[in-house]
């Protein structure tokens, strides 16, 4: 069976009356990969993920999922996107959202029995902590039949315990799925990534090892033993 792949090629984007944010970006992710997308604030990481997902349209370039081009990647049902901000309605309860977003009964039961979520099943989304919300959102998305997951700052505002749980969930699923993860908590992402990309000056730079990041992204000595 052919390995599934998503890629965006020659992606150019600029916000109105602004400098060019992305200029000819190429990014790809295959099934089984965890791609760390790093970069400074405002370099276009979130915009690039939104372009891949299909809710922001680039000036130039295209997105291909399993060798088929899409203007709106999400219509393929092969893509899921975890945005920076919580997208679940605050007035609904956790169990209502599980029922709504998860189709299979066995998946619902599995999620409801999760050690983090079983304590908050009857709580409203508004009453959850930031970490619990992120974990719930990620768990709900992973129950979808999608192959590729675009995670925008999944570790932001999350406690160390839930950070580990999120890392574990990603690793448990990365055999069948592909992940592109963007986050400023680079250590959390680097721990689980199989490949590192640095978004810089409008383009994607491939980073071979962590030490190379010291030239472009993190302070020197960060990865010294």
């Amino acid at each position: 069976m052919a390995v599934k792949e998503i890629f965006g090629d020659s992606i150019e984007f600029r916000y109105r009356n602004q400098y060019s944010l992305l200029s000819g970006v190429f990014i790809n992710c295959k099934q089984g990969e965890v791609v760390a997308l790093l970069g400074r604030n405002g370099c276009g990481k979130s915009t690039l993920l939104k372009i891949l997902f299909g809710i922001v349209h680039p000036k130039n370039g295209f997105v291909s999922i399993n060798n088929r081009r899409y203007k709106r990647g999400y219509m393929s049902k092969e893509l899921c996107y975890l945005p920076q901000h919580s997208f679940l309605p605050t007035y609904k309860t956790v169990s209502q959202m599980i029922y709504f977003m998860v189709d299979k009964k066995e998946d619902r039961e599995r999620i409801a029995a999760d050690t983090v979520l079983d304590k908050v099943l009857s709580s409203k989304i508004a009453d959850l902590s930031v970490g619990e919300k992120r974990y719930l959102e990620l768990t709900l998305l992973l129950a979808r039949q999608a192959t590729f997951y675009l995670l925008d700052e999944p570790f932001s505002g999350v406690s160390p315990y839930l950070k580990e749980k999120i890392q574990q969930v990603i690793q448990d699923n990365c055999g069948q799925k592909g992940f592109i993860i963007s986050d400023h908590h680079y250590n959390s992402v680097l721990d689980i990534s199989t490949r590192i990309l640095l978004l810089q000056n409008g383009g994607c730079r491939s980073i071979v090892n962590k030490k190379d990041l010291e030239y472009f992204y993190v302070p020197e000595g960060t990865f010294d033993d």
């Binding site: 997902f53 999400y74 899921c80 996107y81 945005p83 997208f87 709504f100 977003m101 998305l141 979808r144």
Partner: protein
């Protein structure tokens, strides 16, 4: 269908409130307002106050246009069936 119905349940109370308020002035236009102006204004208000809600539908594989169109027809059917009953 579950997705359309979920969205519809969120905008229906707003639509009913707008339609009822306008009907105090234009009583004969209850049906027309319910299926047109009231519906579209409630869609606009929902998208304005719940900006991130669109990610739910996109992650389920639906575009905003599909959701609004599908819900418009549900609203049309419900309006056509139930509103005449109010006049009986």
């Amino acid at each position: 269908m579950k997705v359309y119905w979920y969205y519809y349940k969120q905008i229906l109370p707003v639509n009913l409130a707008i339609t009822t308020a306008l009907s105090l002035v234009f009583i004969d236009l209850f049906y027309v307002v319910f299926i047109s102006f009231g519906f579209f204004l409630s869609v606009f208000l929902h998208s304005y106050f719940y900006k991130h809600a669109k990610y739910i539908y996109c992650n389920l594989g639906f575009s905003s246009g599909q959701i609004v169109l599908g819900t418009f027809f549900i609203n049309l059917v419900i309006g056509s069936v139930f509103i005449p009953l109010l006049w009986l």
